[in-house]
């Protein structure tokens, strides 16, 4: 009975209910875009550290976990290796440069990342092959570079960096493509460690051949990854020049990361709150318009259960329809975004956003359901006061 009443009313007043659904669809689009943006910007900041094949990330002590200020000489890596429970370590250098490639209208700003071949920190290659030596003039590009530039394995790219006061150009052969590894919102080009040290921006063109190699962070693999907390404490005790943290702590320490995520989360929650109020308001108005009708239905014998269920079903159906329209529209619109647009519809975050949107309808409509339950059948006789 409740289903019958709910669906009949929706169908016969489809214009009105479609309007409510479209408003819900717009709120859905807003929430999904903000969620996608939060995910995209977050991923852009954390992707490299998040996917690092390391149990711990080690920084220079007292650098507040900032990759740009942390400097670890390679001669000190043995201190880390000697800590009991450390399986392997890999130095990682992080810097910025520009990428020149065939057909480019302008250079692409990239993050250049130096890794030791075969050591922790070297990303897996999904197409092509890994570096052959620490000095090879080779590069592995991340998926973001591949998508945005069309560069393929076997192509030659040129990295431009400022060394001293001059621009220097370094031609490299692309040997592989890895998955998305953005760092500081820039697509990444991964280089063998020695090559990176030569290419990165620095005071002396090509670097000082007598200077010690310096990494920004060190990827550490442990014998027992489950013991990472104890191992982080042990590293700091036995090698006090270092600070070891897990990857989540590492990427959350990225400058602006937490603030950015808080801002976007606030927008998302605010959009959901607006959704609750708007949907609640809509259904309250619809219910107020139906007081006489609800009173009449109760007077002829419809129970509160029937009235309440019909009301809940309508709200749920309209919310589902609105969320579905909004989700499909968001998906279609997202196809039109340029590849560098920082929006990612990750299954978990998108699923959670859709779930919360599906809940706001019934939540917003609770007041109107309660109101409809309180309508007295005497209203039909004009007696209820």
């Amino acid at each position: 009975m409740a289903v019958y009443l709910a669906l009949k009313e929706i169908w016969r007043a489809r214009g009105r209910f479609l309007l409510v659904s479209l408003v819900i669809a717009l709120i859905t689009m807003l929430v999904l875009f903000v969620a996608g943006l939060a995910e995209g910007l977050g991923a852009g900041n954390r992707e490299f550290l998040e996917k690092l094949d390391a149990d711990l990330v080690v920084y220079q002590a007292k650098t507040e976990l900032q990759t740009t200020t942390s400097r670890i000489g390679t001669s000190k890596l043995n201190e880390l290796r000697r800590v009991d429970g450390v399986k392997d370590v890999g130095p990682i250098g992080l810097s910025n440069a520009s990428l020149l490639y065939e057909g480019a209208a302008e250079p692409l700003n990239i993050s250049i990342i130096g890794v030791d071949p075969g050591q922790p920190g070297e990303p897996p290659v999904f197409e092509g092959e890994n570096f052959r030596t620490r000095r090879a003039s080779e590069a592995v590009i991340d998926r973001n570079v591949a998508v945005r530039t069309g560069i393929q394995v076997g192509d030659t790219i040129t990295i431009k960096s400022i060394q001293g006061t001059d621009e220097q150009f370094y031609p490299l052969t692309v040997v592989g493509v890895t998955d998305g590894r953005q760092n500081f919102l820039q697509p990444s080009v991964i280089l063998p460690y020695r090559t990176w040290d030569k290419v990165r921006p620095q005071g002396i063109p090509g670097g000082d051949p007598n200077a010690e190699l310096v990494a920004n962070i060190v990827a550490v693999q442990l014998d027992d990854p489950a013991q990472w907390e104890q191992m982080a404490a042990r590293i700091q005790t036995e090698a006090p020049d270092f600070e070891a943290v897990d990857r989540v702590t590492a990427y959350k320490a990225t400058p602006g990361y937490k603030e950015q995520q808080r801002t976007l989360d606030t927008q998302r929650y605010f959009a959901l709150l607006i959704g609750i109020l708007v949907i609640g308001g809509f259904f309250q108005i619809l219910t107020l318009q139906k007081v006489a009708q609800i009173g009449m239905l109760k007077a002829i014998g419809a129970s509160n259960r029937v009235i309440g269920l019909a009301s809940i079903m309508q709200i749920t159906a309209i919310t589902f329809l609105g969320v579905a329209i909004g989700a499909v529209a968001t998906l279609l619109l997202s196809f039109g975004f340029p590849p560098d647009f920082p929006i990612v519809f990750a299954p978990n975050a998108t699923g959670l956003a859709v779930l919360s949107l599906l809940l706001i309808g019934p939540l917003g409509g609770l007041v109107s359901v309660r109101y409809s339950l309180r309508v007295e059948p005497l209203t039909a006789l004009g007696l209820a006061q």
Partner: protein, 260 residues
């Protein structure tokens, strides 16, 4: 004799700013199956309050209401709701129909509420609407029907589920004279044919000519009951919106009756 509807010393007292208002005061009436009764009286005389109690929408302060032999006072709210949809048919002054259901769907609604809608029920709804002159408007939504047509759909809905008692609250209030007569005439005919007990609250005394008895209320009490067909016809002939004319008419000279 078991009546379809019987009230025994029914009263309803409201508390208003500390003073008791007796909206219905010690009313005892009976209506048998196949009988159509008019409940008349001035505004505030307690007609609608009594109707609400007969429908189980209001609990009396004291007294007993029996519908088909069942004491409404002994039922819980949920039981009264269930009883209402099974045993009572209802038409209202306005907002009678569900606006998003067609005429036929509105009539079938009572069968749906009772879980009794089947092919035979649908056919019966069609026949009833056809009988009330709405055979061509089965699939019309209420907004496409005139006031009289809407009232006739409401009457069909009040009768479709074989209720013991049919209650009508001012069924002609929003109708023109011709349609009002048509509606009440059809109503009374079907009430008698189907052997229901019908009670109609009305301000329009012209309508009482289709009833078997007229119960006049004043200040919550039954002031007068008229059962004589000639006298009822006379009341209807003088017909006035103000029921206060009734006692005057009772004393009116005989020629009026002979003319009628």
């Amino acid at each position: 004799m078991e009546y379809a509807l019987q009230t025994i010393n029914v009263s309803k007292v409201y508390d208003s700013d500390g003073s008791a208002i007796r909206a219905v005061d010690d009313v005892s009436i009976e209506v048998a199956r196949g009988e159509f009764v008019a409940l008349v009286g001035p505004s505030g005389s307690g007609k609608t309050t009594l109707l609400a109690m007969l429908a189980g929408l209001l609990r009396p302060t004291s007294g007993t209401i029996l519908i088909d032999g069942k004491d409404l006072g002994k039922m819980s709210d949920a039981q009264r709701t269930a009883f209402r949809k099974q045993k009572i048919g209802f038409t209202f002054q306005s907002n009678n129909l569900v606006p998003y259901l067609t005429a036929q769907e509105n009539v079938e609604l009572m069968l749906r509420l009772n879980g009794r809608l089947d092919g035979a029920g649908k056919e019966r709804a069609r026949e009833l609407l056809d009988r009330l002159g709405l055979g061509e408007r089965l699939n019309s939504l209420p907004r496409k029907l005139s006031g009289g047509q809407q009232q006739r759909v409401a009457i069909a809905r009040a009768l479709i589920h074989d209720p013991a008692v049919v209650l009508a609250d001012e069924p002609t209030a929003s109708l023109d004279t011709e349609r009002a007569f048509q509606v009440v005439e059809s109503f009374s005919e079907i009430i008698r044919e189907q052997n229901r007990a019908g009670i109609m609250v009305t301000h329009d005394l012209r309508m009482v000519r289709y009833t078997d008895r007229v119960i006049q209320m004043r200040d919550g009490r039954v002031e007068r009951i008229v059962s004589d067909p000639a006298e009822i016809e006379a009341i209807a002939t003088v017909g006035h919106m103000d029921a206060l004319t009734m006692p005057l008419f009772a004393a009116a000279p005989q020629p009026v009756l002979t003319v009628a």
